[in-house]
């Protein structure tokens, strides 16, 4: 969108692949014409918007990533059931809490993924991120033991994310 | 359903008109927006209520009148442009007149400190 000088031809290969898939999904087709068009768009859009995406994203361990994705989806399902029960059940039994989760992750992107994963899963919502102090503030709907919950989150989500995205540059 | 649609349009009109008659720019703009909803719905139903019919060739059993829909689209865009304009004008008026009354009457700042 701004000057083309110094631009990479394929700035975000992962994103491009993702977009091509998305295009086919969106058009609900795998017709050849749409492959061509999708390929074109998957190249053109990242190319022209690369200045909006400063750091490139590298997927170190695709398999782990897939496993993580499935884990999160499973957790979401469970979380929903749990939360549903909590909501329908007696309100007085809930024991909400705020938790500060210290971060080992360094990159914006991975921290964001962690924060979103936390928000999507059991009874927890990330309400704040303090980059300088390096922690996430999370509200739990029903937390019996804060420390245990923090540890659980770190081990279950932060660790895999670190491995997937931040191994190469510790 | 016809009665319901009429009632909805009537209520939207009433609410819009009431807000239009206020003295400050912001509620008036809200009122305009509500009135616009009413008007758009009205234009829309000038093609009558045809649930299940479509305006896309090859989809659905019959075709509903597409013209009012096109008119509504034009009306929506224009009213968006107008809303934006009048909103910025309201800001300008606030700067020039010192308050957000449509008549620029109030001399003393009305925001709480």
């Amino acid at each position: 969108m701004s000057s083309l000088a110094g631009k990479k031809l394929f700035p975000h290969k992962l994103l491009s692949a993702f977009m091509l898939g998305l295009w086919l999904l969106m058009n609900n087709t795998i017709a050849p014409g749409h492959w061509v068009l999708g390929f074109l768009l998957a190249w053109a859009i990242p190319f022209f918007t690369q200045s909006f995406w400063p750091q490139s994203m590298v997927l170190n361990r695709p398999l782990l990533a897939l496993r993580f994705l499935l884990l999160v989806l499973w957790d979401i399902l469970i979380a929903n059931v749990q939360v549903a029960i909590l909501i329908i059940g007696p309100r007085q039994k809930l024991s909400p809490a705020f938790m500060r989760i210290p971060l080992d992750l360094k990159q914006d992107f991975t921290i964001t993924l962690l924060a979103n994963t936390i928000s999507l899963t059991p009874g927890t919502v990330t309400v704040d991120l303090q980059m300088e102090e390096g922690y996430l503030l999370v509200h739990g709907l029903n937390v019996d033991d804060i420390d245990q919950a923090i540890a659980g989150i770190k081990q279950r989500y932060e660790q895999p994310l670190k491995e997937i995205f931040e191994c190469s540059n510790p | 359903m016809e009665v319901l649609v009429a009632v909805v349009i009537a209520v939207l009109t009433s609410c819009g008109v009431y807000l239009l008659l206020r003295g400050r720019t912001f509620p008036i703009i809200l009122g305009l927006t509500l009135l616009t909803y009413a008007v758009n719905l009205f234009i829309f139903v000038s093609g009558r209520l045809n649930p299940g019919q479509s305006t896309i060739i090859g989809v659905g059993e019959g075709y509903t009148d597409p013209l009012p829909q096109a008119l509504v689209l034009t009306a929506i865009v224009i009213s968006f442009a107008m809303t934006a304009f009048v909103m910025v004008l309201a800001l300008r008026a606030r700067a020039e007149l010192g308050n957000d009354h449509v008549d620029g009457r109030i001399k003393v700042e009305d925001v709480k400190p």
Binding site: V83, I87, A97, F98, V125, T126, D128, L137, I146 | -
Partner: protein
Amino acid sequence: MSFATEVVISLFLLLGACFALVGSLGLARLQDFFMRLHGPTKATTLGVGGMVIGSIIFFTAGEHELSLHELLIALFLFITAPVSAHIVGKAALHRQLPCEVRTKNVPWGNDGGKDSVDTN
């Protein structure tokens, strides 16, 4: 469309609907804002998820052709819903909204379980 398919679709739909309802119920009846925040962001995403799956099956079965594009909606929601929750939560945090008495670790100290009416 076979009866079995219909049953499967119905199950997904009803499941999704229930989640949506529960999410909204949570929003409606939980005591403080931060607790209410949990309801919709999760339950409704799954609610939509249920509908999406139901819809995929419905159209795939109905037109004998794989129809996956509804997945995109779910994808979008899964990307955006946590951010929405975060940003609304952040606003609440900034405003230091009162929390339910039982809430532990309230960063700005806890002064009671009653919501104060927030005119703005």
